[in-house]
């Protein structure tokens, strides 16, 4: 059996890659995908720990997360489409009208 720490390490690596992607990528779609990556890294940690401690709460949470992520994707992609329509770009560095 694969030990828990492997799962958690994979989860941390995935999360870090997601976070890194959010921080350094300019394309909104890529950032979006990176967020999904971070969510799924968390999901992985949930199921791994749930399996390890034999408590089903983690599994249930993951379903919630997947549901929320699906909703989020629907809203997020709609936002990105709306942004693209008005700006002709999805480069987040161009969206700086809130600059102080």
């Amino acid at each position: 059996m694969i030990p828990l720490s492997y799962y958690l390490a994979l989860s941390a690596v995935l999360f870090s890659m997601g976070a890194l992607g959010v921080l350094i990528k300019r394309n909104a779609l890529i950032i979006f995908m990176s967020i999904e990556l971070m969510l799924n890294a968390a999901n992985l940690a949930f199921v791994a720990l749930s399996r390890h401690f034999n408590i089903l709460d983690g599994q249930i949470f993951v379903f919630f997360v997947i549901a929320v992520a699906a909703a989020e994707v629907a809203v997020g992609l709609a936002l990105i489409v709306a942004i693209f329509r008005s700006k002709q770009t999805i480069d987040v560095d161009q969206l700086n009208s809130l600059k102080g």
């Binding site: 959010v22 921080l23 950032i31 987040v92 560095d93 009208s97 102080g100």
Partner: protein
Amino acid sequence: MMLSETTSGLFFNLVPWIIFFPVIGLLVNLLFGARMGEKAVGSVASVASGLAFVVSVLLGYSLWASHGEAQVVPFAEWIKIGTLDIPWNFRVDTLSVTMMLVVSGVGTLIHVYAIGYMHEDVRFKKDKKRFPRFFVFMNLFIAMMMILVSGDSYLMLFVGWEGVGLCSFLLIGFWYDMDTLGRPSWANSNAAKKAFITNRIGDLGFILAAMTMFWYFGSLQFGEVFVQAEQIAAAQPVVVIAITLFMLIGVAGKSAQIPLYVWLPDAMAGPTPVSALIHAATMVTAGVYLVARSAPLYVTVHGAQYIVAMVGAVTALFAATIAVGQYDIKKVLAYSTISQLGFMVAAVGMGAFVAGMFHLVTHAFFKALLFLSAGSVILGLERGHHRAAHHGGHADHHEEVFDPGDMRNMGGLRKQMPVTFWLYMVGTLALAGIFPFAGFWSKDEILLDASKHYPAVYWLLTAAAFLTAFYMGRQVWMVFFGKPRHAAAAHAEESGKLITVPLMVLAGLSILGGVLNLPFKGFHNFAHWLEYTLGHVEVLGFDLVVAGVSTLLALAAIGLSWLLYMRNPLRAGQEDPLKKVLGPLFTAMERKWFVDEGYWAVFVDRYVDIARFLADVIDWRFWHDWFHDKVIAGTYNFLSRKVLDLRVDQGGIDAIANGLGELTKQASVSLRRLQNGFVRSYALAVLFGVVAILGYLLLK
């Protein structure tokens, strides 16, 4: 009614009504006088005064029935501070009732006379609206005089003393916006001010006397003071001398004695009934009453008595000399009043309180008679002046202002005004002291007393009596005999019944007044009456020498005046024959010995100088220019501009407020850099934040 029967059916409790009746009268006239018509106004005032007289008579009867025992009727609590308790009590004794009878009796007659007099006066002076005002003042005067004579303490007496002074001021200045001839000027109100201010000097003396008394006697109630008088006079004679002499200053002010008499002649600016009531018969005798009332104090200090007597005697002679040189009919009578007041003051000063009070009473009769008759003469002349202007209007249009009071405009009035003439003769003979008129008896009693105790006073008073007869003779010859010296005198008309009837009553009293106190055994009624109040009084008999000398001198004086003024009656424009005889001396008399000018030079001008110095230098230059403008305003400006504005406000408060603003601005400038609008840097910040929080939670 307040007819409470406490003292065995006597009327002592009615005593407050002597004040209430005149006050009711004045209130009625004050509130409704403008709508009531002259007859009604005058009737209300006269009835008010008359009822006060009725009450006085009832009080007199009650005293007589209770054998003259003095009553103190408590009326109201007045001043009560700690142990100091000065109630308003009425004192009903023979002395105060005598004054009440004179004040209200003569006062009522003068009120009636004034209805007729003021009716014409307000028409000559062309202001009918002042008619009710006159009677309001007159009733107020009666009320105040009653307070003066009925009070049971020096403080209550002082209230009345000030009150009558106020009424005197109001009535002298009754025609305040004109002079005595009706021309627009402030002469009358200046006369009123002179009277008031001169009296104020006298009042200061009164106040000093009252304070000294309170300090050493611990009371101002008559009874309590007099009980201690002898004891304190023995222990500290200086105290009693000081009190009596301070009081003398008050007496000199109110009763027009040297050196404060100067206001009384000017007071003739008031309407003639006022001159008769206030400035001859009643108010000016308040000083005499005060000395008589304070008899227990005066008899303990003979030195003070002597000074009082000398002041009175010198005034009597001094004023008589001035009266000789006057041309105004009322001025002659005014100086005569001063002179006669001198007689009274001399009498009460010598301790002859009965003689002084007796002369006060008879003088009230005949001097009121003389003044009112003089008023009748003046009215007659004014009527004559109008008629002359109407009838023979051919020549007199360019005529200057006509003075109806100037005796040089009169002459021969005996034929035009026979009733007034006879009434005037009665007054003259009474004043000159001719047997058997009232003045003869009262003056003689004073002279007799003086001849026994104070020879110097006797000679002064005898000389004054001689001059009295002379100037009255001169006046009668000039006014009623000879030929008219002016068209107005030729056309003069007799006055109506309303004016002459009160005069007849006064004439009757002037003839018969002597009966009060004839110097024969069994007839000293007045002396015994006052004895109840004054204690034992020396009753003098009849001295043929003194009476003879004074009568002969009076007759001689009248004869002398006949020689000068009747053998060759004065013609219009002619100089006074006495001027040829006396030369510059007469001029000095005519100019009142230059006393007024002297007072101006010594007091008034100096006072004006001081006032001007205070106003210009102290007030304006020092106080206003320097202290106010420089010191206060300058300091204020310096403080507000240089210190508070620059340093505190701009440098302190503004700096804090501005600094805070600047700080916030700086902070926001630095902080806005964080708000760069790059979503990735926000995400980085969130990441750092999460890492930091998690790190903290994990490493805690």
